[in-house]
Point group: C2
Chain length 427, copies 2
């Protein structure tokens, strides 16, 4: 059952920040084999591996335009409206993330600037399984479009009948992705990293996945292909005081916990009453949900922590650096200023994590496992690179030249000095 901790000391706090660990080393060899096979044998390898792991014979790896166009016929109007509403919000928030920076004249005649340029070719991975993550298609596809990526492809595994969930296809169509491939697992990552007869090679790969997908992304990252960020199990931390609604807090912890046994949900509060209320609501709500088993397993990794003050709660939260941080306190907006490390922050009692997971506009691809100390969540920034430019006039180089020569000589780089000297001679 869920672990309760009262006033943990420094050592205990560090212990409480530890995430359920996952050892990806054990699967490295098989992932390396898959990468190699796809690199050398292309489409044939993809078909063989799909047959091997799922029993499905694929004639064609690519989903037809017809299938994408008609996918919406299989969905309810309610679901399509919901997806469109979410897409609109995600587009509005991510649309605000792209801007043109002004040039800076650092000295007379020395002009420097940056320009945001979309990464040309990007690959999105959407896992299969029981839960069709069409929301992730929105979260990856929309910023890729805004960034101006020229080629956007998507890989996702087909089911045993060789079909892809229509919600995924509908959403892909909605965000304008026409290149969808029925490939899953490490072989999908390999296909996008190396390219095959059918699948184009991309410059950067995005999206969640199981341990094989994660390990494949780690490995191809050292081979010239960029990836979105290190992956790990999802997590939430809720900071709450006596004003918080225990039922809301319990629901937020459960919504995290249902992601599976590796997920971690943490409550940090300065109120014993609230903590006890949450404990009570947890068991009530779990009993009313269909997936009781999964949920109860996952709460084993979770903690309810009682601290002496709200300050201490935020100090712990910043140490933990949660992927999702919910602030359910009386002065939530002011308290948000105390956040130093977090992926995405939900302020006040009506800002539940589910809102950001689906439809409010923020991205749900976020740094886990303490990476929020140094990584940002996914945004339009993830789909662009910023190229620096400089233009120096003859007069500019006259002003700047001597400093460059002096510094280059002090670093014993005479060729660097010479590149300035040959120019200064002519001015």
């Amino acid at each position: 059952m869920i672990n309760t901790v009262i006033n943990p000391d420094k050592g205990q706090r560090e212990q409480l920040c530890r995430r359920p660990s996952i050892d990806t080393d054990v699967i490295s060899d098989s992932v390396r084999e898959i990468l190699k096979e796809v690199r050398l044998q292309g489409d044939n390898a993809l078909k063989r591996l799909t047959k091997l792991y799922t029993g499905t014979d694929l004639n064609s790896l690519k989903v037809t335009d017809e299938e994408i166009n008609s996918a919406g016929d299989l969905l309810s109007e309610d679901l399509k409206s919901a997806i469109r509403l979410a897409a609109g919000n995600i587009e509005r928030f991510h649309g605000s993330q792209l801007y043109t920076e002004a040039a800076t004249e650092t000295m007379p005649g020395v002009l420097c600037w940056r320009k945001s340029v979309g990464i040309e070719k990007v690959g999105l991975y959407i896992p299969g399984g029981n839960a069709p993550l069409f929301s992730t298609v929105l979260m990856l596809g929309i910023p890729a479009n805004i960034a101006g990526c020229k080629e956007i492809i998507l890989c996702t595994p087909a089911d045993k009948n060789g079909k892809i969930n229509p919600a995924i296809l509908f959403t892909a169509g909605l965000v304008g992705i026409r290149s969808v491939f029925m490939i899953g697992g490490a072989q999908a990552i390999a296909a996008m990293a190396y390219g095959t007869e059918t699948v184009p090679k991309v410059d950067k790969i995005f999206g969640p996945g199981n341990q094989y997908v994660t390990r494949a992304k780690e490995l191809i990252q050292t081979e010239g292909i960029a990836i979105d960020m290190p992956a790990g199990p999802s997590e939430v931390l809720v900071v709450a005081d006596e004003d918080a609604n225990p039922s809301f807090v319990a629901a937020d912890l459960i919504s995290q916990a249902e992601h599976g046994p590796d997920s971690q949900a943490t409550l940090v509060t300065n109120s014993k009453t609230l903590l006890e209320g949450v404990l009570k609501c947890l068991s009530e709500q779990i009993n009313e949900l269909p997936q009781t088993t999964t949920t109860s397993i996952s709460l084993d990794k979770s903690n309810l922590i009682l601290m002496q003050s709200i300050e201490e709660c935020f100090s712990f939260s910043n140490l933990y650096a949660p992927e999702h941080l919910i602030i359910a306190t009386r002065n939530a907006r002011a308290d948000a200023e105390k956040v130093a490390n977090a992926g995405s922050v939900f302020i006040g009692q009506y800002s539940c994590e589910s809102a950001g997971d689906y439809a409010s506009g923020t991205n749900h691809t976020l740094p886990t496992n303490g990476y929020a100390r140094s990584y940002s969540g996914l945004s339009v920034d993830s789909f662009i690179k910023k190229i620096t430019f400089q233009q120096i006039t003859a007069d500019g180089l006259k002003e700047l030249g001597k400093a460059i020569e002096t510094m280059a000589e002090a670093e014993t780089l005479y060729g660097h000095k010479n590149a300035v000297s040959v120019r200064l001679k002519t001015i």
Copy 2:
């Protein structure tokens, strides 16, 4: 000698984009050993490894304030002025990179925004050797300050007398870094990644280094510590037409080539006359430089390529994705619009790479080895993370709630749905 290629076909172009390859696998085992020793034995390991590799007995790992303060006494006024001038320009350009984004109301009652927060603890690595890279202290330290990083530490190896080059110490002092440690190689990366009795653990590690440093950074990246970017040998590509000055172009190629035998310098031009002029200037200039040997070795990996048009030159450059791109054409500024993949671009005949390497204001830590397709160069962005926030009102959730419930149910995540339902019931 340098390789000349005329009108390469598609296959040849891909071949010309290959970088000199470096196999870091062979040193993995020794780097793993070093990481492990430092993790388990802290300062003792650092002292033992320093003694082993450099013969130096270190009593203390930390440079004293006195040493930092007095380092400038050992430098010429010319050098100190040059460093100050460069620092001013770098500060002005990087200072323009930090801004506050406005919040977006994606729907009535749904407010989303991002906030840039400095990464709390960062570690900078500066290699030792003959060339004291004090310029890199500016390039890493200044953006770290602008980003608001709270703790900035620097590791760099001492020489055989247990001293650090005074230009490095002076520059560290100038940018306000007071925590300088005399540690080099993979053990320095390990010290900053794990922390020791003396060296604080950091969240992200920056800076260049040899193969051991590079491999150590790659390995610790999978253990929760972020790194600046994948490292590789430096490279330049010059696009030039008949208007370019062959002497300037030759000097730029040489200034790249002196970085060592793995560096690659490439000229792409539509003018046979220019190409021949550059070839002539190359041998003339090399003969006048002190480091002839290094330089000539390095040009073995370099190429002079003749294309049929300037369009084709840029098409090749975008395929190559150079770290540094110099545009020496009649319409350089307009041609710069054709750049899709590059780290830093130098426009026109007076914008030599050395300017950006030292003093114009742009950063010299840039993506190599084709990573310019997906990575940006170092900037203030590299020292911050952007945290997303959202605040939803009761009315906002009323508008948004049904869409979230519908989407969560379609993804079979009933806990996510429930987190909205418990709230909607109370509104």
